[in-house]
C-alpha cells in the first residue's frame, strides 16, 4: 500500500446546467498522505465545502477521480467509503442520548459494552462534554451538539476523518483549548484528517499542510510555514496572514548601482543593486510593472524615508495596528508596543529588501520572496 491516503485527480464540480451554472470546484488534484492533517482554507463560497462533500459522498463529482488508499471511491455510497464525518447539520439522532449517539459509531465494532463506555468517557472528557452525556440532543446548546458530533466522528475507526468547521460554534477560549487536544488525539493515533475552515489560526495550529482555495481553484498547497514565507500568488499572500499583507502596484527600474521600485504618487523605494540577486534584477528589468507585497509586521519606521499618513491606530494589548495612507493605497503596520500615533500624523516608512515579496502584475504569481528569485 502506498503512503497516499487520499488522491484527488482532476476533480471538477458544476452546479446547475453547464454554461450558466456554477463551477464550484475547478480541476483540483491533490494527494493527502497517511497520518497527515490537511486544512482546506478559504472564504465563504470558495468551494472548500463542496470538495469535502464530494470526498464524503454527499455530492457526486462532475468529473475526475477520488481514491482512498487503493480504492476508487467516487462512485461509492457514503457508507461504503469508510470515512468518518463531522458536518454542520449532520445532525445527532434526536431520540437517543448524547452517550448513545457517540457509542452508536462503535455499534458494529468488536468492543465490549465496558470498552465502549470507557472510550466514550475518554473522548467526552477530551471535548469537555462529560456532563451532558445523558442529555438528549434537543436540550443541549449548539456548541455542545457540535462537540457531540465531533466525538461521534473521532471515536470511529475509519480511513479518513472529514471535519467541516468542527469548532465553528465554540467560544474562542474553548476553541484554543480543544485545538491542541484534537491535534494530539489525531496524531497519537496516526489518523488522516481533512478539516474545512475559514479560520486561519485554526488551520495554522492544526494542519500539517494547508490547501488555500478561492473561486473553486487550489491557490497553494503547502505547510503553514511555506505559505507564510513564500506565498504562491497575491491571493494567498493577502488571504493568509493577520493582518493581511500590504500590496502596491509598482514599476521597477534597474541601473548598475540601484534598484528603484516606483509606487503610485511617485514614491520611490531605492536600494543598492546588490541588495537584489542578479537573476531577480534581470527579471525585474524585463517586466517593469510588478506588484510589491510586504507583511505588516515587517514594515519599519525610520527617521527619514517615504511618508505615510496615519488613518487609524488600534491598540490590542500586546501590539498596535496602524493603518496609513501610503502611495495611493492603504499600508498597515504592526508594532509591538503601545504606539502613540494619532490620526493625520506623518511617519517615515522603510521596507527592507529581505522583507519584500514581488508578484507578476498580470498573473498575480509570485516572482521573488526576500529579494531572491523563486525556483
Amino acid at each position: 500500500m502506498s503512503d497516499v491516503m487520499l488522491d484527488l485527480n482532476s476533480v471538477d464540480k458544476f452546479y446547475g446546467s453547464k454554461g450558466q451554472g456554477v463551477h464550484a470546484v475547478c480541476n483540483i488534484s491533490m494527494k493527502v498522505m497517511r497520518g497527515e492533517i490537511i486544512a482546506l482554507l478559504g472564504s465563504s463560497g470558495c468551494g472548500k465545502t463542496s470538495m469535502l462533500r464530494m470526498v464524503a459522498g454527499f455530492e457526486a463529482v462532475s468529473r475526475g477521480k477520488i481514491s482512498i488508499g487503493d480504492r476508487e471511491i467516487h462512485a461509492l455510497r457514503p457508507v461504503e467509503r469508510n470515512v468518518a464525518m463531522a458536518f454542520e447539520g449532520y445532525s445527532l439522532y434526536p431520540t437517543v442520548t448524547v452517550r448513545d449517539n457517540i457509542a452508536f459509531a462503535l455499534k458494529s465494532s468488536k468492543f465490549s459494552a465496558t470498552d465502549v463506555a470507557v472510550k466514550v468517557d475518554e473522548i467526552a472528557a477530551m471535548l469537555e462534554i462529560s456532563t451532558i452525556l445523558d442529555k438528549y440532543p434537543s436540550s443541549i446548546s449548539g456548541g455542545q451538539q457540535q462537540r457531540a458530533s465531533l466525538a461521534r466522528a473521532l471515536i470511529r475507526d475509519a480511513d479518513l476523518y472529514l471535519l467541516d468547521e468542527p469548532m465553528g460554534q465554540l467560544e474562542p477560549q474553548l476553541r484554543t483549548l480543544l485545538r491542541g487536544r484534537i491535534k494530539a488525539y489525531i496524531k497519537e493515533r496516526g489518523l488522516t484528517a481533512i478539516l474545512v475552515t475559514h479560520d486561519q489560526t485554526e488551520a495554522n495550529a492544526l494542519a500539517d499542510r494547508i490547501a488555500v482555495m478561492e473561486d473553486g481553484e487550489l491557490q497553494q498547497f503547502a505547510s503553514p510555514e511555506d505559505i507564510k514565507k513564500s506565498p504562491a500568488n497575491i491571493f494567498t499572500g493577502t488571504f493568509v496572514g493577520e493582518p493581511p499583507m500590504n500590496v502596491f502596484p509598482a514599476r521597477a527600474s534597474i541601473s548598475e548601482e540601484t534598484v528603484c521600485l516606483r509606487l503610485n504618487e511617485n514614491i520611490d523605494l531605492s536600494y543598492p543593486a546588490d541588495a537584489f540577486s542578479a537573476e531577480l534584477r534581470a527579471s525585474l528589468a524585463e517586466m517593469g510593472d510588478i506588484v510589491l507585497g510586504v507583511r505588516p509586521y515587517a514594515v519599519q519606521r525610520r527617521d527619514t524615508g517615504s511618508l505615510a499618513t496615519v488613518v487609524v491606530n488600534q491598540w490590542l494589548g500586546d501590539q498596535s495596528h496602524i493603518a496609513t495612507n501610503f502611495a495611493g493605497g492603504s499600508l498597515v503596520l504592526v508594532e509591538h508596543d503601545r504606539t502613540q500615533l494619532s490620526e493625520d500624523e506623518q511617519i517615515a516608512i522603510y521596507l527592507e529588501p529581505s522583507d519584500i515579496h514581488i508578484f507578476n502584475s498580470k498573473t498575480g504569481m509570485a516572482i521573488s520572496h526576500g529579494a531572491r528569485l523563486i525556483g
Binding site: 465563504s44 486561519q200 493577520e242 509586521y297 488613518v311 488600534q314 490590542l316 500586546d318 501590539q319
Partner: protein, 363 residues
Amino acid sequence: MSLELTNISKSFKDEMVLDGVSIQVHEGKTLVLFGPSGAGKTVLLRLIAGVIEPDSGQIKISGTDVDGVEPEDRNIGMAFQNFALFPHMDAHANIASPLTAQKQDKSAIQSGVQTLAKLLKIDHVLDHKPKELSNGQKQRTALARALAGKPKVLLLDDPLRNVDAKLRFEMRLELPRLLSDQNTTVIYVTQDYKEAMAFGDEIAVISSGVVQQIGTPEDIYLTPANIEIARLFGDPVINYLDVTVQKDAVGIFALVSDKRVDLNSGYARAVGQDCSLGIRPESILFVPASHPGAVPVTVEAETPLNEKTVNLCLTARGREIMASRPSGTVGPANGPAFVSIEAANVLIFDKHTGELIEPDKFY
C-alpha cells in the same frame, strides 16, 4: 442619543439571566459587551430593542424612559445573529428597506446601498436572494441593512462572526470610523477580544448575567478586575503562577522557581497571602543568566505565528509558561534559558477569590 440602563434584571422561568445590570453609553460612543455564551449579552440587546421586557430596572434613551415604547418607535437599528432578512427580497432590496421606509429618493437609495455593499464586500451578490447567500454574506447583508438607515442607536450582535480573517481585519479598521462619522451610539457584542479593544470606547465584561468590569480597553487589559477577565483578553493567554507575597529588609517580593521577583512596595497589604502572580506572555523576556533576578526555564517548543513567535517554557517546578516576542527577534528555540519577570509588568490576584489586588498608591 445616549443610552442608560439602570439595575436591569431578567429571568426566564427560574433562571436569572441578567442580575442588576447597569451600563451607560454616551452619544456617538461605542460600548462593547464582551463575555462567554450564555452570559446574557443577547438578552440585554433584546431588552434595549424592546422585543422583551425587563423584570425590573429602567432603560432610558436620550434621557427618556422607554418602558412601554414599541420597538419600532425606539429609533434603534439592529443586526442580530439569526439574520432575519426578508426572504422574498434580494440583498439590495433588503439593505434598501430602511431607506425605502424613510421615503428617500431613488438615487440616494442607490448610492447608499452601493457604498455599504462595497464596504462590506457584498456588492457582487446584491441581486441574490437570502437563500442564495452564504452565512457570512447573510450576516453582512443584515449589517448593511442596519447601517443603511443611519439609526441613532445601533445594536450589533457579533456581526463579524463567520467572516474570514482578512475581511474581519478590514472591517475592524473601517467600521469604527463609519460609526463615529455617523455619530451613532452603538452597543456591539463580540467574543473576540481584539475586536472588543478596537471597537470599544468602553468595554463591559459580562458573565453569568453580572457586569464584572466596565472600562476603556486600557483599563481592561492593564488592570483586569479579576483573573477570569485577564484570561479573556490577550493571546496567548496570561500566565499565572502560585506565589506567596513576602517581605524582608529589602522590600516586598515573591519567589518564582526560588528566584526573587521584587514587587511594588504597594503590595505590603498582601504579605503572607496566597496569590496568583499574573504575567502576560509579551512581558516575559529572555535575558542572559547574569541578569539580576533571571529565572531559569527550559524552552520546550517554539510556535511561529504571524507577527510573533511563542515559546512554551517550563519552570524548575514544572509549571508551563508562555513567552511571546516579535517575529524576527532572536530567542532560544529549545533547551535551557533565562527569563526576567519585571515588577512593573506583574499583576497580583487573590488566589482564592481571583480578584485583582491593586498596590496601594501612597507608598
